[in-house]
Amino acid sequence: MSDVTLNAAATVPEAAPRSAPLTEVGLVGWARANLFSGWISTAVTLVLAYFIIRWAIGFVDWAFVNAVWSVPNNQTQACRDARGVGACWAVITEKHRFILFGTYPYEEHWRPALCVLLFVALYVVSAMRRFWRPSLALVWVGVLTLIGLLMWGGVLGMPYVPQERWGGLVITLILATFGLAFAFPLAIVVALGRRSNLPAIKAICVIYVELIRGVPLISLLFMASVMFPLFLPEGMNVDKLLRAQIAIILFAGAYLAEVVRGGLQALPKGQYEAADALGLSYWHKTGFIILPQALRLVIPPLVNTFIGFFKDTSLVLIIGIFDLLTAGKTAIIEPAWQGFGVEVYLTVGAIYFVFCFAMSKYSQSLEAELNRHRVR
């Protein structure tokens, strides 16, 4: 909108002190310029508006007006009668705790609930720049330990809960958070190693990245869950979740490493040479000159990869771990609740959307803030 005013001022210089006519600025001006600029445009706008409004009314009718919000004791007849005209949110009312926490013991649900809140609080705190100092790493270690304690229990009077019983949203958050928290440092090391002059280190990094990128995540998860246990001695079992977690870390690490390498290569050679000229050591050069600039350059692809991995965690369903999506699918297996997939998928989709959209919005603001010096 500011563009419109500027242009108007430029074309009619003597009119500059007066504000532009109301029909040229604001909502009306925007609508005239973009929606009703000619008769074809007007016709398209009207037709599309008609469809959008009809669809919106239909959706509101389905989702709110005719919806069934709760049913007594798994008697889903009311829901089945409303099929096609109204949503059955009763399935969410009944199953929301299963979708969020999976098969975690029912009376202990406050523990994973608290963990979800801790995760969100951790994200929020980490997102604020004023908390960006070395002690933040300690906060991460502390909070992640606390989450582990809460989930496993066995101390402070909390009963022990084995990993097979964990599930739902908290599994998605655990896999995504731990995965990216470990994969990101790994990725930086690998990216630096791939540009190293030492042939052995370079070869190892290249092999790692190419091997991992050469196979789909599903096959890595299968290796972790099917082949790996056969290599272990009798009676020794590495937790299934941990195996999946390591597979995800390795996979995410390889992809993030390539993103970081993109940033390293985008930096002008002069930056490296200037740092060398100042007599900085390799680690000083990398830590103070190269990485801060390189990482700033690659924020959009980094967040892109983060969002992708947040959603990729749902692949663990193939090895029998109940993440958010799998818990949602499992919730509608019970015969009484079969056929209400749309409601459950919408809910699960909304949860994924909240997290992914928040990441995306945050990265945009971060990018704008960090690249302020480039905008003139």
Partner: protein, 351 residues
């Protein structure tokens, strides 16, 4: 490291297996490393049975709204735990997918696989597992809309049939149509939910999968009578409980727990009357089963009151069936006791 040699041997064996896995087809030809220790003792000392179940199959194994595992297969886990510990809650359920179920058993991640798994020769021999007992006799069938007027699968010549890809279901269908000279057009859809809605929407004339699955789908429809399950059963799918190979003692416990459930139904022992029957039923076999006479429990390495504990925990076979499978519309059919015509469930004598 007294077990280092063993470990090395196992690791090498596993490495060989790993290599074999790279060549499809060879993977199954490599026998899994035999379990070195006795599962029964391991379960005992752990104090918990680890039971591999389906990740979710209506009526057989699915978590309810509170996350508690319910269903026919889960009840078998409960029954085995009750037999060993006298407490049905000493079970850890591990959800397993079709792909990882056998490895989970081979690697010792689970003790027993109670996951609607079909007993076949190749699985019994080269996969390194033993099937203890057939808990449910299933078979592949067809469902059509009643309005179609078809009474037999042989009349399906020229029909379109909805089927899931890559399963034995698809192969059975092809085999059967070739043998019976019935030509059909397959409509292949991966996800079960979409497959069912395609059938309901009329994209195909018939829908084929295991009869238990057909019955479950049928009962979930608004008007079940509009759909007809045809009488032909084109494959045998005996769903059995699996244990690791070479572990005869544990297999015995699992097998006789199943027979106990059958015998209890045969003699009319139920969850409600088991205590009273244990005290004063005059029939000798009932007295032997319930531990009033003889030491059958001890012979299995269990408590002599194991049978009372199992029936108290889950009821008899008929009760387990009625609780889990009857509500989703599955008939007893071949799973009736042998005393009923057409019934296949038969227990050897308890003596």
């Amino acid at each position: 490291m007294p077990h280092f040699g063993l470990f090395l041997k196992r690791a090498l064996g596993a490495a060989a297996l790993g290599c074999a896995m790279l060549a499809p087809g060879l993977a199954q030809a490599q026998p899994a490393p035999a379990a070195a220790s006795n599962t029964f003792d391991a379960v005992r000392s752990r104090g918990q049975l680890i039971c591999g179940v389906n990740t979710g199959l209506a009526g057989f194994a699915q978590p309810d709204s509170q996350g508690v595992w319910k269903g026919f297969d889960s009840d078998y886990c409960r029954a085995i735990a009750a037999a060993i510990f006298g407490d049905p809650s000493k079970v850890r359920y591990v959800p397993t997918t079709a792909q990882v179920r056998f490895t989970a058993l081979q690697s010792g991640e689970i003790d027993v696989l109670s996951r609607n798994t079909t007993w076949t020769l190749s699985r019994d021999t080269v996969l390194g597992l033993d099937f203890a007992a057939t808990t449910f006799y299933d078979g592949q069938g067809f469902m059509v809309k009643a309005s179609l007027g078809v009474k037999s699968a042989k009349e399906l010549d020229g029909a379109t049939i909805c089927v899931q890809p890559g399963t034995t279901t698809e192969q059975n269908l092809t085999d059967w149509s070739r043998a019976n000279r019935v030509r059909f057009t397959p409509v292949v859809i991966e996800r079960l939910e979409e497959l069912v809605s395609a059938y309901i929407a009329g994209r195909c004339d018939a829908y084929t999968t295991d009869i238990s699955g057909l019955a479950a789908t049928r009962s979930a429809q608004p008007k079940p009578d509009d759909h007809l399950i045809l009488p032909e059963v084109i494959s045998k799918e005996p769903l059995a409980v699996g244990v690791r190979q070479g572990d005869a003692r544990f297999a015995d416990v699992v097998r006789w727990t199943h027979y106990l459930l059958l015998s209890a139904e045969e003699f009319g022992i139920t969850q409600a009357n088991v205590a009273q029957m244990a005290a004063n039923d005059p029939r000798p076999e009932v007295q032997r089963i319930l531990g009033k006479n003889g030491e059958l429990g001890k012979m299995l390495g269990l408590d002599n009151l194991w049978a009372v504990n199992v029936i108290k925990a889950v009821g008899n076979y008929g009760e387990i069936f009625a609780r889990n499978l009857t509500p989703i519309g599955i008939q007893r059919g071949p799973n009736a006791l042998w005393t009923t015509p057409g019934g296949l469930q038969y227990s050897p004598p308890f003596r």
